[in-house]
Protein backbone atom coordinates (compact mmCIF):
# COMPACT_ATOMS: atom_id res chain seq x y z
CA UNK A 1 0.00 0.00 0.00
CA UNK A 2 1.40 3.38 -0.90
CA UNK A 3 2.12 5.74 2.02
CA UNK A 4 1.58 9.36 1.11
CA UNK A 5 4.91 11.06 1.78
CA UNK A 6 4.57 14.28 3.76
CA UNK A 7 0.76 14.21 3.70
CA UNK A 8 -1.10 12.99 6.74
CA UNK A 9 -1.65 9.25 6.67
CA UNK A 10 -5.41 8.61 6.82
CA UNK A 11 -4.91 5.24 8.50
CA UNK A 12 -3.54 7.05 11.56
CA UNK A 13 -6.92 8.59 12.23
CA UNK A 14 -8.61 5.23 12.50
CA UNK A 15 -7.86 4.31 16.10
CA UNK A 16 -8.41 7.77 17.63
CA UNK A 17 -11.71 8.09 15.74
CA UNK A 18 -12.78 4.72 17.05
CA UNK A 19 -11.84 5.62 20.63
CA UNK A 20 -13.67 8.92 20.29
CA UNK A 21 -16.80 7.12 19.09
CA UNK A 22 -16.63 4.66 21.99
CA UNK A 23 -16.14 7.54 24.42
CA UNK A 24 -19.12 9.44 23.01
CA UNK A 25 -21.42 6.44 23.11
CA UNK A 26 -20.34 5.44 26.59
CA UNK A 27 -20.82 8.94 27.95
CA UNK A 28 -24.21 9.40 26.30
CA UNK A 29 -25.30 5.85 27.05
CA UNK A 30 -25.75 6.66 30.70
CA UNK A 31 -23.74 3.79 32.12
CA UNK A 32 -21.06 6.07 33.60
CA UNK A 33 -21.93 9.23 35.54
CA UNK A 34 -20.84 12.51 33.85
CA UNK A 35 -18.60 13.51 36.74
CA UNK A 36 -16.40 10.52 35.91
CA UNK A 37 -16.51 10.69 32.16
CA UNK A 38 -17.82 13.87 30.57
CA UNK A 39 -19.12 13.53 27.04
CA UNK A 40 -16.78 14.66 24.26
CA UNK A 41 -19.16 17.31 22.98
CA UNK A 42 -19.29 18.88 26.45
CA UNK A 43 -15.50 18.93 26.51
CA UNK A 44 -15.43 20.76 23.23
CA UNK A 45 -17.91 23.36 24.45
CA UNK A 46 -15.98 23.95 27.66
CA UNK A 47 -12.75 24.26 25.70
CA UNK A 48 -14.23 26.82 23.35
CA UNK A 49 -15.59 28.71 26.34
CA UNK A 50 -12.17 28.52 28.03
CA UNK A 51 -10.82 30.27 24.95
CA UNK A 52 -13.40 32.90 24.12
CA UNK A 53 -15.24 33.41 27.38
CA UNK A 54 -18.62 33.74 25.73
CA UNK A 55 -20.78 31.06 27.32
CA UNK A 56 -19.40 31.41 30.87
CA UNK A 57 -19.67 27.69 31.48
CA UNK A 58 -16.91 27.54 34.12
CA UNK A 59 -15.00 29.92 36.41
CA UNK A 60 -12.15 29.63 33.91
CA UNK A 61 -14.19 31.03 31.07
CA UNK A 62 -12.06 33.08 28.69
CA UNK A 63 -8.88 32.54 30.65
CA UNK A 64 -7.13 30.16 28.21
CA UNK A 65 -4.70 32.62 26.74
CA UNK A 66 -3.30 33.95 30.01
CA UNK A 67 -2.79 30.47 31.43
CA UNK A 68 -1.39 29.14 28.20
CA UNK A 69 1.13 31.94 27.98
CA UNK A 70 2.15 31.53 31.62
CA UNK A 71 2.93 27.85 31.08
CA UNK A 72 4.57 28.48 27.73
CA UNK A 73 6.87 31.08 29.23
CA UNK A 74 8.02 28.72 31.97
CA UNK A 75 8.75 25.96 29.47
CA UNK A 76 10.56 28.39 27.20
CA UNK A 77 12.85 29.69 29.93
CA UNK A 78 13.52 26.29 31.47
CA UNK A 79 14.19 24.71 28.09
CA UNK A 80 16.45 27.57 27.06
CA UNK A 81 18.56 27.16 30.19
CA UNK A 82 18.72 23.38 29.74
CA UNK A 83 19.63 23.69 26.05
CA UNK A 84 22.38 26.22 26.59
CA UNK A 85 24.04 24.20 29.32
CA UNK A 86 23.30 20.85 27.72
CA UNK A 87 24.67 21.78 24.30
CA UNK A 88 27.74 23.54 25.63
CA UNK A 89 28.73 20.88 28.15
CA UNK A 90 27.64 18.11 25.80
CA UNK A 91 29.97 19.21 23.02
CA UNK A 92 32.84 19.75 25.45
CA UNK A 93 32.35 16.31 26.96
CA UNK A 94 32.08 14.69 23.56
CA UNK A 95 35.24 16.23 22.16
CA UNK A 96 37.59 16.54 25.13
CA UNK A 97 38.22 13.46 27.21
CA UNK A 98 39.44 15.52 30.17
CA UNK A 99 36.09 17.26 30.31
CA UNK A 100 34.34 13.94 30.05
CA UNK A 101 36.37 12.58 32.95
CA UNK A 102 35.50 15.57 35.10
CA UNK A 103 31.86 16.08 34.17
CA UNK A 104 30.35 12.75 33.23
CA UNK A 105 30.45 11.00 36.62
CA UNK A 106 28.95 14.04 38.35
CA UNK A 107 26.19 14.43 35.79
CA UNK A 108 25.25 10.78 35.91
CA UNK A 109 25.23 10.85 39.71
CA UNK A 110 22.82 13.78 39.66
CA UNK A 111 20.70 11.98 37.13
CA UNK A 112 20.01 9.12 39.51
CA UNK A 113 17.73 11.33 41.56
CA UNK A 114 14.47 11.34 39.63
CA UNK A 115 13.19 14.83 38.83
CA UNK A 116 10.31 14.46 41.23
CA UNK A 117 12.81 13.86 44.00
CA UNK A 118 14.12 17.36 43.50
CA UNK A 119 10.77 18.95 44.29
CA UNK A 120 11.13 19.29 48.07
CA UNK A 121 14.62 20.80 48.02
CA UNK A 122 13.61 23.05 45.14
CA UNK A 123 10.73 24.41 47.21
CA UNK A 124 13.12 24.99 50.08
CA UNK A 125 15.53 26.90 47.84
CA UNK A 126 13.13 28.74 45.56
CA UNK A 127 9.86 28.72 47.39
CA UNK A 128 6.61 27.49 45.97
CA UNK A 129 5.79 28.50 42.43
CA UNK A 130 7.49 30.15 39.49
CA UNK A 131 11.18 29.60 40.12
CA UNK A 132 10.76 26.07 41.37
CA UNK A 133 8.88 25.20 38.20
CA UNK A 134 11.52 26.65 35.92
CA UNK A 135 14.26 24.96 37.95
CA UNK A 136 12.61 21.56 37.63
CA UNK A 137 12.07 21.99 33.91
CA UNK A 138 15.66 23.04 33.33
CA UNK A 139 17.01 20.22 35.45
CA UNK A 140 14.96 17.51 33.78
CA UNK A 141 15.50 18.74 30.23
CA UNK A 142 19.24 19.12 30.72
CA UNK A 143 20.03 15.42 30.92
CA UNK A 144 18.73 14.14 27.57
CA UNK A 145 20.20 17.18 25.81
CA UNK A 146 23.61 16.73 27.44
CA UNK A 147 23.79 12.98 26.92
CA UNK A 148 22.68 12.96 23.29
CA UNK A 149 24.87 15.92 22.37
CA UNK A 150 27.90 14.30 23.99
CA UNK A 151 27.17 11.09 22.17
CA UNK A 152 26.74 12.81 18.82
CA UNK A 153 29.89 14.86 19.26
CA UNK A 154 31.95 11.84 20.25
CA UNK A 155 30.74 9.66 17.42
CA UNK A 156 31.90 11.85 14.55
CA UNK A 157 33.80 9.47 12.26
CA UNK A 158 37.57 9.94 12.39
CA UNK A 159 37.60 9.68 8.62
CA UNK A 160 35.49 12.81 8.24
CA UNK A 161 37.66 14.72 10.69
CA UNK A 162 40.76 13.74 8.72
CA UNK A 163 39.09 14.75 5.48
CA UNK A 164 38.24 18.15 6.93
CA UNK A 165 41.74 18.73 8.28
CA UNK A 166 43.33 17.59 5.04
CA UNK A 167 41.20 20.06 3.09
CA UNK A 168 42.36 22.89 5.33
CA UNK A 169 39.97 23.14 8.27
CA UNK A 170 41.40 24.66 11.45
CA UNK A 171 39.91 23.72 14.84
CA UNK A 172 37.03 26.22 14.66
CA UNK A 173 36.13 25.43 11.04
CA UNK A 174 36.40 21.75 11.83
CA UNK A 175 33.82 22.23 14.56
CA UNK A 176 31.35 24.25 12.53
CA UNK A 177 31.70 22.39 9.23
CA UNK A 178 32.27 18.81 10.33
CA UNK A 179 31.59 18.12 14.00
CA UNK A 180 28.39 20.12 14.28
CA UNK A 181 26.71 18.74 11.14
CA UNK A 182 27.81 15.20 11.96
CA UNK A 183 26.53 15.45 15.54
CA UNK A 184 23.36 17.29 14.59
CA UNK A 185 20.97 14.33 14.30
CA UNK A 186 21.85 13.25 17.84
CA UNK A 187 21.56 16.83 19.06
CA UNK A 188 18.06 17.09 17.62
CA UNK A 189 17.03 13.86 19.35
CA UNK A 190 18.31 15.25 22.63
CA UNK A 191 16.50 18.54 22.16
CA UNK A 192 13.20 16.86 21.32
CA UNK A 193 13.45 14.57 24.33
CA UNK A 194 14.33 17.56 26.50
CA UNK A 195 11.34 19.50 25.23
CA UNK A 196 9.00 16.59 25.89
CA UNK A 197 10.32 16.23 29.40
CA UNK A 198 9.95 19.99 29.91
CA UNK A 199 6.19 19.75 29.51
CA UNK A 200 6.01 16.91 31.99
CA UNK A 201 7.92 18.81 34.64
CA UNK A 202 5.94 21.94 33.92
CA UNK A 203 2.86 20.24 35.26
CA UNK A 204 4.74 18.92 38.28
CA UNK A 205 6.12 22.32 39.08
CA UNK A 206 2.81 24.08 38.61
CA UNK A 207 1.12 21.61 40.93
CA UNK A 208 3.10 23.13 43.77
CA UNK A 209 0.98 26.23 43.63
CA UNK A 210 1.50 28.81 40.96
CA UNK A 211 -1.28 31.25 40.40
CA UNK A 212 -1.62 30.72 36.67
CA UNK A 213 -0.75 28.13 34.09
CA UNK A 214 -2.36 25.07 32.59
CA UNK A 215 -1.05 22.77 35.32
CA UNK A 216 -2.41 25.09 37.95
CA UNK A 217 -5.80 25.13 36.21
CA UNK A 218 -5.69 21.35 36.08
CA UNK A 219 -5.16 21.00 39.84
CA UNK A 220 -7.51 23.80 40.72
CA UNK A 221 -10.33 22.45 38.58
CA UNK A 222 -10.00 19.08 40.27
CA UNK A 223 -10.52 20.67 43.64
CA UNK A 224 -13.44 22.69 42.30
CA UNK A 225 -15.01 19.61 40.75
CA UNK A 226 -14.72 20.92 37.21
CA UNK A 227 -13.96 17.57 35.58
CA UNK A 228 -14.29 18.90 32.04
CA UNK A 229 -11.62 21.50 32.75
CA UNK A 230 -9.19 18.83 33.87
CA UNK A 231 -9.51 17.15 30.51
CA UNK A 232 -9.45 20.46 28.66
CA UNK A 233 -6.17 21.42 30.36
CA UNK A 234 -4.69 18.05 29.45
CA UNK A 235 -5.68 18.54 25.83
CA UNK A 236 -4.20 22.03 25.80
CA UNK A 237 -0.90 20.79 27.19
CA UNK A 238 -0.83 17.94 24.68
CA UNK A 239 -1.49 20.29 21.77
CA UNK A 240 1.15 22.74 22.96
CA UNK A 241 3.56 19.84 23.30
CA UNK A 242 2.99 18.76 19.71
CA UNK A 243 3.16 22.30 18.34
CA UNK A 244 6.35 23.11 20.22
CA UNK A 245 7.92 19.90 18.94
CA UNK A 246 7.03 20.83 15.37
CA UNK A 247 8.43 24.29 15.89
CA UNK A 248 11.64 22.84 17.26
CA UNK A 249 11.98 20.58 14.22
CA UNK A 250 11.37 23.50 11.90
CA UNK A 251 14.04 25.57 13.59
CA UNK A 252 16.48 22.66 13.41
CA UNK A 253 15.76 22.23 9.71
CA UNK A 254 16.53 25.88 9.12
CA UNK A 255 19.85 25.61 10.94
CA UNK A 256 20.86 22.50 9.06
CA UNK A 257 18.65 21.71 6.09
CA UNK A 258 17.83 18.05 5.93
CA UNK A 259 19.18 16.47 2.84
CA UNK A 260 16.72 15.58 0.18
CA UNK A 261 15.15 12.17 -0.47
Amino acid sequence: MKRLRGKIDPVGFGLPALLLAVWYLTAKGGGIPPYLLPAPDKIVRVMVDFADGVSKLTPYSGRMLENLLASLLRVAIGFAIASTLGLLLGFLTGRFSIVKRILDPAVHALRTVPGIGWLPIAIVWFGVGERTTVFLIALAAFFPIYINTAHGAAEVPELLLRAGRMLGAGPISLFSTVILPAAFPSVVVGLRLGLGVSWAYLVLGELTGVSSGLGAVMMDSRMMGQVEMIIVSMICIAVLGILSDRLLLKVCRIILPEKGS
Binding site: L160, A163, G168, F184
Partner: protein
Protein backbone atom coordinates in the same frame (compact mmCIF):
# COMPACT_ATOMS: atom_id res chain seq x y z
CA UNK B 1 60.58 9.84 3.92
CA UNK B 2 63.76 8.97 5.80
CA UNK B 3 64.38 6.17 8.30
CA UNK B 4 60.90 6.16 9.64
CA UNK B 5 59.99 3.88 12.52
CA UNK B 6 56.53 3.50 13.97
CA UNK B 7 55.02 1.35 16.67
CA UNK B 8 51.56 1.14 18.16
CA UNK B 9 50.38 -0.09 21.52
CA UNK B 10 49.09 -3.61 21.01
CA UNK B 11 46.13 -5.16 22.85
CA UNK B 12 48.34 -7.44 24.90
CA UNK B 13 50.15 -4.49 26.54
CA UNK B 14 53.16 -4.88 24.31
CA UNK B 15 54.22 -2.71 21.44
CA UNK B 16 53.51 -3.67 17.90
CA UNK B 17 56.31 -2.58 15.59
CA UNK B 18 54.59 -1.57 12.39
CA UNK B 19 57.28 0.19 10.42
CA UNK B 20 61.02 -0.45 10.60
CA UNK B 21 63.41 1.89 8.87
CA UNK B 22 61.30 3.01 5.94
CA UNK B 23 62.93 5.30 3.43
CA UNK B 24 61.29 6.44 0.21
CA UNK B 25 61.93 9.13 -2.30
CA UNK B 26 59.26 10.55 -4.57
CA UNK B 27 60.18 13.10 -7.19
CA UNK B 28 57.95 15.74 -8.67
CA UNK B 29 55.68 14.32 -11.36
CA UNK B 30 56.40 10.74 -10.32
CA UNK B 31 53.68 8.24 -9.76
CA UNK B 32 54.76 5.81 -7.09
CA UNK B 33 52.99 2.67 -5.96
CA UNK B 34 53.41 1.08 -2.57
CA UNK B 35 52.57 -2.56 -2.55
CA UNK B 36 52.70 -5.17 0.16
CA UNK B 37 50.82 -7.92 1.96
CA UNK B 38 47.75 -7.08 4.04
CA UNK B 39 48.41 -5.35 7.32
CA UNK B 40 52.05 -4.60 6.60
CA UNK B 41 51.80 -0.95 7.52
CA UNK B 42 51.13 0.56 4.11
CA UNK B 43 48.31 2.75 5.39
CA UNK B 44 50.53 3.89 8.26
CA UNK B 45 53.10 5.11 5.76
CA UNK B 46 50.40 7.04 3.94
CA UNK B 47 49.07 8.53 7.19
CA UNK B 48 52.56 9.66 8.15
CA UNK B 49 53.18 11.09 4.69
CA UNK B 50 49.86 12.94 4.85
CA UNK B 51 50.57 14.28 8.32
CA UNK B 52 47.83 12.47 10.24
CA UNK B 53 50.37 10.56 12.31
CA UNK B 54 53.92 11.20 13.45
CA UNK B 55 56.68 8.61 13.25
CA UNK B 56 58.44 7.51 16.42
CA UNK B 57 61.78 7.92 14.69
CA UNK B 58 62.91 9.50 11.46
CA UNK B 59 60.91 12.04 9.52
CA UNK B 60 59.20 13.12 6.38
CA UNK B 61 60.22 16.11 4.31
CA UNK B 62 57.96 17.69 1.74
CA UNK B 63 59.24 20.43 -0.53
CA UNK B 64 62.12 20.95 1.86
CA UNK B 65 60.02 21.32 5.02
CA UNK B 66 59.13 18.68 7.61
CA UNK B 67 55.62 17.26 7.56
CA UNK B 68 53.79 17.67 10.86
CA UNK B 69 50.14 18.06 9.99
CA UNK B 70 47.75 17.45 7.10
CA UNK B 71 47.47 19.99 4.33
CA UNK B 72 45.64 20.38 1.06
CA UNK B 73 49.05 20.43 -0.64
CA UNK B 74 49.11 16.71 0.07
CA UNK B 75 45.61 15.76 -1.02
CA UNK B 76 44.37 12.44 0.30
CA UNK B 77 41.90 10.14 -1.38
CA UNK B 78 40.75 7.79 1.33
CA UNK B 79 39.87 4.15 0.91
CA UNK B 80 36.23 4.77 1.67
CA UNK B 81 35.80 8.18 0.07
CA UNK B 82 34.96 9.97 3.32
CA UNK B 83 32.54 12.40 1.73
CA UNK B 84 30.42 14.59 4.01
CA UNK B 85 27.01 12.95 3.88
CA UNK B 86 25.12 16.18 4.59
CA UNK B 87 26.61 17.94 1.55
CA UNK B 88 25.81 17.50 -2.12
CA UNK B 89 28.43 16.48 -4.65
CA UNK B 90 29.04 20.08 -5.59
CA UNK B 91 29.21 21.25 -1.96
CA UNK B 92 31.65 18.45 -1.16
CA UNK B 93 33.86 19.43 -4.06
CA UNK B 94 33.68 23.12 -3.13
CA UNK B 95 34.42 22.48 0.57
CA UNK B 96 38.15 23.18 0.52
CA UNK B 97 37.89 26.35 -1.53
CA UNK B 98 35.07 27.63 0.68
CA UNK B 99 37.36 27.23 3.69
CA UNK B 100 39.97 29.30 1.89
CA UNK B 101 37.36 32.01 1.37
CA UNK B 102 37.72 31.88 -2.40
CA UNK B 103 35.30 34.12 -4.34
CA UNK B 104 31.97 32.43 -5.05
CA UNK B 105 32.13 32.78 -8.82
CA UNK B 106 35.60 31.26 -8.82
CA UNK B 107 34.40 28.43 -6.63
CA UNK B 108 31.53 27.86 -9.05
CA UNK B 109 33.85 27.76 -12.05
CA UNK B 110 36.43 25.47 -10.48
CA UNK B 111 33.80 23.12 -9.07
CA UNK B 112 32.21 22.69 -12.47
CA UNK B 113 35.61 21.98 -13.95
CA UNK B 114 36.58 19.42 -11.33
CA UNK B 115 33.26 17.65 -11.52
CA UNK B 116 33.54 17.42 -15.31
CA UNK B 117 37.12 16.19 -15.04
CA UNK B 118 36.06 13.15 -13.06
CA UNK B 119 33.10 12.56 -15.34
CA UNK B 120 30.29 13.42 -12.93
CA UNK B 121 28.65 16.27 -14.80
CA UNK B 122 24.95 16.27 -14.05
CA UNK B 123 25.32 14.82 -10.55
CA UNK B 124 26.05 18.09 -8.77
CA UNK B 125 22.95 18.02 -6.57
CA UNK B 126 23.17 14.38 -5.61
CA UNK B 127 24.01 13.32 -2.08
CA UNK B 128 26.76 10.77 -1.38
CA UNK B 129 24.35 8.07 -0.32
CA UNK B 130 22.69 8.32 -3.73
CA UNK B 131 25.96 7.51 -5.49
CA UNK B 132 27.70 4.25 -6.23
CA UNK B 133 31.09 3.45 -4.69
CA UNK B 134 32.93 4.40 -7.85
CA UNK B 135 31.12 7.70 -8.13
CA UNK B 136 31.84 8.56 -4.50
CA UNK B 137 35.48 7.86 -5.17
CA UNK B 138 35.42 10.22 -8.13
CA UNK B 139 33.88 12.95 -5.97
CA UNK B 140 36.58 12.50 -3.35
CA UNK B 141 39.15 12.78 -6.14
CA UNK B 142 37.50 15.93 -7.45
CA UNK B 143 37.42 17.63 -4.06
CA UNK B 144 41.15 17.04 -3.75
CA UNK B 145 42.12 17.98 -7.31
CA UNK B 146 40.25 21.27 -7.08
CA UNK B 147 42.76 22.35 -4.41
CA UNK B 148 45.56 21.93 -6.97
CA UNK B 149 47.68 19.84 -4.61
CA UNK B 150 51.40 19.29 -5.11
CA UNK B 151 50.90 15.64 -4.31
CA UNK B 152 48.17 13.06 -4.26
CA UNK B 153 48.04 10.34 -1.64
CA UNK B 154 45.68 7.51 -2.39
CA UNK B 155 44.93 4.68 0.00
CA UNK B 156 43.88 1.60 -1.96
CA UNK B 157 41.44 3.80 -3.84
CA UNK B 158 40.06 1.08 -6.06
CA UNK B 159 40.01 -1.78 -3.57
CA UNK B 160 36.31 -1.55 -2.79
CA UNK B 161 35.21 -1.39 -6.42
CA UNK B 162 34.02 -4.22 -8.60
CA UNK B 163 36.37 -5.36 -11.35
CA UNK B 164 34.75 -3.44 -14.20
CA UNK B 165 34.45 -0.16 -12.30
CA UNK B 166 38.04 -0.59 -11.18
CA UNK B 167 39.32 -0.89 -14.76
CA UNK B 168 37.28 2.14 -15.75
CA UNK B 169 38.64 4.16 -12.84
CA UNK B 170 42.19 3.08 -13.63
CA UNK B 171 41.73 4.25 -17.20
CA UNK B 172 40.36 7.57 -15.96
CA UNK B 173 43.29 7.97 -13.63
CA UNK B 174 45.72 7.24 -16.45
CA UNK B 175 44.02 9.88 -18.57
CA UNK B 176 43.96 12.47 -15.79
CA UNK B 177 47.56 11.83 -14.86
CA UNK B 178 48.67 12.11 -18.45
CA UNK B 179 46.94 15.49 -18.63
CA UNK B 180 47.86 16.96 -15.26
CA UNK B 181 51.14 15.16 -14.51
CA UNK B 182 50.61 15.03 -10.74
CA UNK B 183 52.94 13.59 -8.12
CA UNK B 184 51.23 10.56 -6.66
CA UNK B 185 51.81 7.99 -3.96
CA UNK B 186 49.21 5.29 -3.97
CA UNK B 187 48.79 2.14 -2.00
CA UNK B 188 47.54 -1.00 -3.58
CA UNK B 189 47.58 -4.71 -3.08
CA UNK B 190 46.97 -5.28 -6.78
CA UNK B 191 50.22 -5.95 -8.63
CA UNK B 192 48.72 -5.31 -12.06
CA UNK B 193 47.34 -1.98 -10.91
CA UNK B 194 50.77 -0.96 -9.63
CA UNK B 195 52.47 -1.90 -12.89
CA UNK B 196 49.78 -0.23 -14.95
CA UNK B 197 49.69 3.11 -13.20
CA UNK B 198 53.07 3.69 -11.55
CA UNK B 199 56.55 4.84 -12.61
CA UNK B 200 58.13 3.28 -9.54
CA UNK B 201 57.04 0.55 -7.16
CA UNK B 202 58.12 0.08 -3.55
CA UNK B 203 57.57 -3.44 -2.33
CA UNK B 204 57.03 -3.95 1.39
CA UNK B 205 57.51 -6.95 3.64
CA UNK B 206 55.22 -8.39 6.27
CA UNK B 207 55.19 -6.87 9.72
CA UNK B 208 57.35 -5.15 10.86
CA UNK B 209 57.13 -3.41 7.50
CA UNK B 210 60.36 -2.84 5.63
CA UNK B 211 61.00 -1.81 2.05
CA UNK B 212 62.22 -4.95 0.32
CA UNK B 213 62.69 -3.50 -3.11
CA UNK B 214 62.40 -0.45 -5.33
CA UNK B 215 61.38 -1.24 -8.91
CA UNK B 216 61.35 1.08 -11.88
CA UNK B 217 58.43 0.33 -14.16
CA UNK B 218 59.75 0.15 -17.73
CA UNK B 219 56.60 0.92 -19.71
CA UNK B 220 56.46 4.23 -21.55
CA UNK B 221 53.56 6.64 -21.34
CA UNK B 222 50.88 7.02 -22.54
CA UNK B 223 50.01 3.50 -21.48
CA UNK B 224 47.11 1.80 -23.20
CA UNK B 225 45.04 -0.43 -20.96
CA UNK B 226 45.73 -3.47 -23.13
CA UNK B 227 49.35 -3.40 -22.05
CA UNK B 228 48.16 -5.82 -19.41
CA UNK B 229 48.17 -8.58 -21.99
CA UNK B 230 51.76 -8.05 -23.13
CA UNK B 231 54.70 -10.35 -22.46
CA UNK B 232 56.78 -7.69 -20.73
CA UNK B 233 53.90 -6.98 -18.42
CA UNK B 234 53.56 -10.62 -17.42
CA UNK B 235 57.28 -10.83 -16.77
CA UNK B 236 57.23 -7.74 -14.59
CA UNK B 237 54.22 -9.09 -12.75
CA UNK B 238 56.00 -12.39 -12.02
CA UNK B 239 58.97 -10.47 -10.71
CA UNK B 240 56.93 -8.40 -8.30
CA UNK B 241 54.86 -11.36 -7.17
CA UNK B 242 57.95 -13.38 -6.35
CA UNK B 243 59.25 -10.49 -4.25
CA UNK B 244 55.97 -10.27 -2.42
CA UNK B 245 55.75 -13.92 -1.63
CA UNK B 246 59.30 -14.60 -0.52
Amino acid sequence: MENVFKSYASPDDGRLKVLADISMRIGAGEIVALIGPSGCGKSTILNIAAGFERPDDGGVTFKGAPVTSPSSERGVVFQSAGLFPWLTVKQNVAYGLKLKKTKPDQIEEKSEKSISLVGLKGFESYYPDQLSGGMQLRVSLARVLIMEPDMLLMDEPFAALDAQTRISMQQQLLAISFELKPTVLFITHDVEEALLLADKIYVMSKLPGRIISEIKVPFKRPRPINIIGSVEFSRAKREVLSLLFN
